[in-house]
Subunit: 477 residues, 2 copies
């Protein structure tokens, strides 16, 4: 049944009432809004709705039946005919005199810096990074927590406009349980929830980088480079060594350094303790700020994760970013910023201005999932599975003589690989033909030097252990 | 039980292993992380975790018991003592030499332009605007839709990183069912989901207003004025007449006009058809763009809502904003932008850069709630209740001789009121003392002239009909 509320007689349309009704219905069909087999409102109801006489609508319907737009089925009414004209692929766009030239008018669009085939899940040997694995995720308990968060007692946390506020239950868990595991002590006003790490990076970049000198890691996270290209910052990508970012190579005059010390993206390197201290010392001496993206610290199955860089920060110059995208799922869009209270207050005001707050239901469900212990159990299950996959992957790589360019010494969910002399865009395209999905490494490079097309990423967050060896065989074959 | 993962020995801390463990536990207590009665990990487990001998941990625990930080309970282990020192209200902040002066460093924060008492729900005569009413919302069916969206079949829509994409089910419903009710025909690539109308306004302002001449309504939506104060636009607030924004008063050289033609915020005026056409003609003649905020069009219980301004747009110069905040609930954070495909593509890229996409679960739940007909039923129930509340409110206002400064001729959820010679900030403060919550009108004014403190808003979206007369009596008394 087509809703009667979708029928309007535009006051300015020329023609008799009857012909305008015919046009209205025909346009609904031609535009694809009304589909074959759908029932029209009765002539009585439509006449009442439009404020016209019933006979006018009946005559219009009769004409439309004659033109095979509609078919009449006895007393049950009028339906869009199976023979009605097919709609075009999309409705007509504005064009002709007076039409706005939008392409001329709009600023250059930012890029996410990430491209993945939409059908990634259908690959048999799926070495894709950063999506959730249905065989590991605890859907049953997530569902129970979501239901609890939908209950009467939580009506306000679900429905209310919180303006710039966060769910106190979730903030309490993060400050008391999550951050201490990273060695970080923070008060509630030093934490802000964000729409994933992307949103945390964006807010931080907006507040800290415009018209300042910013250093990023090269290779590094493409989405960070892409968003920094929009903030009018002077960007310096720094080439890494085997221990990640070398503080000695940071140019004088740098204001902000973005880094991934726990698990460098994409090389998976962990920055040693002495270098972290050197980075902080350098930052203090030259009054730099540091933004620490601590994504994926949860996946520490080879050895306990080292405390975050933020835990060593005595002068309030480290902004810390955490995310539930890798440990729960990326479609949740939930992450957090930790920093000195004045910075968090500014980030909170900016977040409120662009979106107010993450949906209440998402926050409360996550708070329950964390505080009831399901999150810890999930991390343990994921760690066990990743550990096994990593073991299989390591041996398959050794067996096929593939070259590892970066190894997460504490765990993670991917390896950074190098294929000397090979263009990995071509390699990835060829492998796709045999059901293998790998990620070419070039998009991670900002261009501070080196052959970038030889690298690729092999992730084991979505591929079952049993398929890894065969998949690696195809990569090496 | 305090999680063992929250224990770390910082490599650089001086002292013996035993004293460092004692310090670590004492700090956990002093900082408020470990609370009285919570159980410590066993000495065996902690020794294993820290890689130290068990006797070292046992000696540290024994010392902590002697100092009354911990208490030992026979074989069941060690607990934070009930006599342990109380934590301070918040952990110590960075201070002293080298500490960053954040207040000096950060840009000026945007304001949401909105202030409401946090305890608004506790007022007996609650004339607050824009929150959800638990007596009207269909929690049961919302819960069922949420459960369905959490099912196995929807795992991907729940969990996957969609990068810049939207839920096709929700887009399909909006293009085929919602927009046609506003007389708008749009293809899927002409619609973008946003984190509420706030996010839609922000994205639009970012793309269209920097370094251009922008006109807003005065009075108007404070959150719009606040976010435009951040985009480096040249802002002209235009005083309204009884029909809303008068196109003849728009200054030459204007590039963008933000307007609320269906239901002017806050006066609730509906712009007549002839004036809408004049506005579009003016926009076309002077090549202006129009941003139409069509919030609350669903609440049309007095007469059918007129089609949106966007429905009359032949030259692709109207950007349309819709929202589910008033019709479902504001904590959902879901709205949408409609405009020409190139504009939507740019807004999509910008959205992806700041947050990627609204959480998948929120989108899919809403898609089910809409397509299963629960939304239409909810709107009907809300309309009936609002209609009744409005009737009671209108008679109470007449009975107490209060002055209405703007009336929604088709419905809405609030009235715009004037109290000549009264400062409504003082009035609101006085009324709060007797359990009445009204909203002073001054924040809606940008200052294009007139006495602004005489106005106030009376909303009937959260107050039961039975309390309205008494509440209005207190306002007028």
């Amino acid at each position: 049944m087509i809703s009667i509320d979708t029928f309007h007689l535009t006051p300015s349309t020329p023609g008799t009432l009857q012909s305008r009704i015919q046009q209205m219905v025909a346009q609904g069909i031609l535009s694809g809004r009304f589909r074959a087999g759908e029932r029209l409102p009765s002539s009585r109801a439509l006449a009442l709705h439009l404020g016209v006489s019933r006979i006018t609508v009946t005559l219009a319907y009769t004409e439309l039946v004659a033109d095979d737009y509609l078919s009449a089925r006895g007393r049950s009414g009028y339906y869009v005919s199976a023979n009605a004209p097919e709609p075009p692929d999309f409705p007509a766009r504005a064009s002709g005199p007076g039409t706005v030239n939008w392409l001329e008018l709009l600023p250059k669009s930012p890029s996410l810096g990430i491209t993945k085939p939409a059908d990634w899940a259908s690959y048999r040997y799926n070495f894709i990074y950063g999506q959730s694995d249905p065989t590991l995720f605890d859907s049953a308990n997530w569902r129970l927590c979501a239901l609890q968060a939908l209950g009467k007692r939580d009506f306000d946390s679900l429905t209310a406009d919180q303006y710039d506020g966060d769910d106190p239950l979730l903030i309490d868990y993060i400050t008391r349980q999550t951050l201490p595991r990273r060695g970080i002590l923070a008060a509630p006003d030093e934490v802000l929830l964000t729409m994933g790490a992307q949103n945390a990076l964006w807010l931080t970049a907006q507040l800290l980088t415009p018209n300042r000198n910013t250093v990023i890691e090269d290779p590094g996270y493409p989405a960070l480079r892409a968003l920094l290209s929009q903030t009018h910052t002077i960007l310096t990508p720094l080439a890494l060594d085997q221990d990640g970012l070398d503080p000695a190579t940071i140019p004088p005059g740098t204001d902000v350094v973005f880094t991934t010390p726990s698990h460098q993206c994409p090389t998976t390197t962990t920055m040693p303790h002495a270098r972290r201290q050197a980075l902080l010392d350098r930052a203090e001496a030259d009054n730099m700020l540091i933004v620490e993206d601590d994504y994926e610290f949860e996946m520490s199955f080879l050895r306990p994760a080292a405390p975050a860089l933020k835990s060593m920060d005595k002068t309030g110059r480290v902004i810390y970013i955490g995310s539930f995208s890798k440990s729960i799922f990326p479609g949740l869009r939930l992450g957090y910023l930790v920093g000195p209270a004045p910075f968090i207050a500014a980030a909170r005001a900016l977040r409120a201005s662009i979106l107010r707050h993450p949906p209440g239901h998402i926050q409360r469900t996550t708070a329950y999932f964390l505080s009831l212990g399901h999150y810890d159990a999930l991390i343990r299950r994921m760690s066990r599975a990743y550990h096994e996959r990593r073991r299989v992957l390591d041996s398959a790589i050794a067996a096929h003589g593939l070259q590892v360019a970066g190894t997460g010494t504490y765990g993670g969910s991917s390896l950074w690989m190098r294929a000397p002399g090979v263009n990995t865009y071509e390699l990835a395209a060829r492998l796709r033909g045999v059901g293998v999905l790998i990620e070419p490494g070039a998009p991670f490079f900002a261009g501070s030097g080196g052959v970038t097309t030889e690298f690729y990423r092999l992730a084991y967050s979505s591929i079952p252990a049993g398929r890894i060896a065969e998949g690696v065989g195809l990569v090496g074959g």
